[in-house]
Amino acid sequence: MNTTSQLDLHPDAESLNAFAEQALAAPEREQVLVHLARCSRCRQVIFLAHQAAADAETSAQVAAARPTTQPGMWFLNWRFAWVPAAALAAALALVVTFHPRHTAPAPEMAKLTPLSESTAPVPQEQAATGAAHNPAPALVKKSIARDVELGAHRGPAENLALEAAPSAASTAESGEIAGSSESSHAVTTLSVESASQPVAAAHYQPEPAAAAVQQDQQQFSGTLSAGSAAPPVSLKSMQAEAYTAHARRQAASAGPRRPQQSAPAASFDMNTQQQLPELTDSLKARKANPPKLPSGLAVVSTAIAQNLVLVIDQTGALFLSGDSGQHWEQVARQWTGRAIEVRAKTGLSSNAAPAGGFELKNEAGSIWASVDGKTWTAQ
């Protein structure tokens, strides 16, 4: 018997697979096993096939062991991300909560910027200085462009106001970017304070934001009433009304108009406006040359009223000047604690005509009042 020829005959795939899967009857299984014992080719075939089956089974087990996504499993999958997510949400809430407080000084910025340019005529040198103090030139330019576009739809008074004080309007609108209601406050404040002497004092006063907003609201309503009841008779009055109209437009665009109060109608009197050029000159001079105090320290707070200038230095000492800061006289201490703020009394108390006098506040918040800046009485 030629064994070589016999080795060329092998069980077929059906029999080998049935052997591996234990699907053969005992006699057939014995036959296949006998053949496998002597045939390396069929042993190799059956081992390879079984190895492939084992690999497939392992892959299936791995796939089955792989966690499947079930409804609600996302919660468990994200359980480790809850802590940073909660921290982020808390930080966001804090930012949202305190953001208005940080942006509250925007009205102050709106007040400060136009003061250097709103009082026409402005020398070129001073204009350059004002440009240097402009906090956001890009926004101002953009706002000016917007105003030019909107000019066709504005009344003549509004256009006049914008031409006279473009920086004021643009700055106010730049404030609108931070908050539309605040921008309207800023413009309203400008319209009033630019026509009154105590406004100059506010230029140097670090007022609390809340008080400024409240004051602006009062002046806003008063200005609206003035614009309708008392027609302006001078250029400044026209400018003031233009600013008021601009503020009205801003308020209208910002949302529902706030209820108008029945405030006193006469916000501007001619006496106050006649003092404006003089005050403006003083302010310009002060801005160009910061006051040099006898103590040599930096100024913390300044108030100007009735040709009197009061300043507080870093140590809380109060100095008085009657010649626009040429000469300084230290005021005797008549208050307790450390003085931190001095302000003109009129601009803070009401919208009426300035009654003169100053107010001084110490660290504890106590207020002292003085008419001439030398004699102080507790309030």
Binding site: D12, A20, Q31, V32, R38, L48, A52
Partner: protein, 312 residues
């Protein structure tokens, strides 16, 4: 490389008259397999069942008549769903091929990659088998598909894997035979001169004869164990699943086979005229002194019924 079903060799020479299958059973199996979905009518389905049953005589001894219960048990032991699918694919039924591809395409490719150990070769092997399965090979003008040879014993996936392994092994052996001769200029070194074999001693000759006789007396499973473990270098873990035993059982079986083989060789040596001490001394001889081809001995030992009947 030719291959044939085991049952064909086992029943060769025996007049296998197919037992008629009860109509109720055919109807029951036909409905269970949803053979109609693949276009297999009842009569065609009956032919397939009869052919499978005739090849194995319902799993009974040749000549035995199968009762209705035995017929049912036999067909229940088959993968009839896979069988129907394979025959429908061999018949070229589009729905069957659609189901076949959706079910077996990816596993078959993975199996081919695992068998060849190479993704490129594996994909090539799988594609080649697909072409064969689809019946691109024609014989006498008739499309022939290897799926026709599937008879439902064992899973269709296992059959596909085994077919892939057969193709791969045959291809490997064929290409290995066709390796070109090494170029002498390419660093080829002629084999060292084979030393003249020394004339073995009489004891070694007796030992060789005793070993051959002992190996021939081993059972088929014992020879399979020895061949797989010592000749092929398979591990216990690889051998155990094929015998459906634990690998520890394989280890015990191997130990028992080797110890029994040693005793049998010693007994054969005594039967050849050596004394017991002389037989033990012969067993301690250096195996390298023996001129024995164990692989050849295992191959020719105890010619199995499958081969003998296949050559009839």
């Amino acid at each position: 490389m030719p291959s044939q079903p085991v049952e064909a060799s086992a029943t060769a020479g025996i007049s296998a008259v197919p037992e008629p299958i009860h109509n109720a059973l055919v109807e029951e199996l036909w409905r269970e397999c949803s053979a109609s979905a693949y276009g297999l009518e009842r009569e065609r389905f009956r032919e397939i069942l009869e052919r499978v049953a005739a090849a194995q005589n319902f799993g009974l001894a040749p000549g035995a008549a199968a009762t209705r219960r035995q017929q049912r048990d036999f067909f229940r032991g088959l993968r009839l769903a896979d069988l129907v699918l394979a025959r429908a694919c061999a018949n070229g039924h589009p729905g069957a091929w659609e189901h076949f591809l959706a079910t077996y395409r990816q596993p078959l490719t993975r199996a081919a990659i695992a068998i060849t150990g190479s993704e490129t070769l594996g994909r090539e092997l799988a594609d080649q088998l697909y072409a064969e399965l689809y019946g691109l090979t024609t014989r006498d003008g008739v499309r022939r598909s290897p799926l026709d040879s599937y008879r439902g014993r064992g899973s269709l996936m296992g059959w596909l894997r085994t077919t892939l392994a057969q193709r791969h092994v045959d291809h490997h052996r064929r290409t290995r035979r066709e390796l070109p001769l090494d170029d002498p200029a390419d660093g080829y070194e002629p084999p060292a001169a084979i030393p003249e074999p020394e004339t073995p001693s009489a004891d070694l000759l007796l030992l060789g004869r005793a070993i051959e006789e002992a190996l021939r007396q081993l059972a088929a499973e014992e020879r399979f164990l020895l061949a797989a473990y010592y000749l092929d270098g398979r591990t216990l873990l690889e051998i155990a699943p094929l015998l459906h035993v634990h690998e520890a059982t394989v280890s015990r079986k191997l130990r028992r086979v080797t110890s029994g083989l040693r005793k049998r060789i010693a007994r054969n040596l005594q039967g050849l005229g050596l004394s017991k001490p002389a037989a033990q001394e012969a067993l301690d001889a250096d195996p390298r002194d023996l001129n024995l081809n164990l692989k050849k001995i295992l191959q020719i030992s105890s010619l199995d019924a499958f081969q003998e009947k296949a050559t009839l």
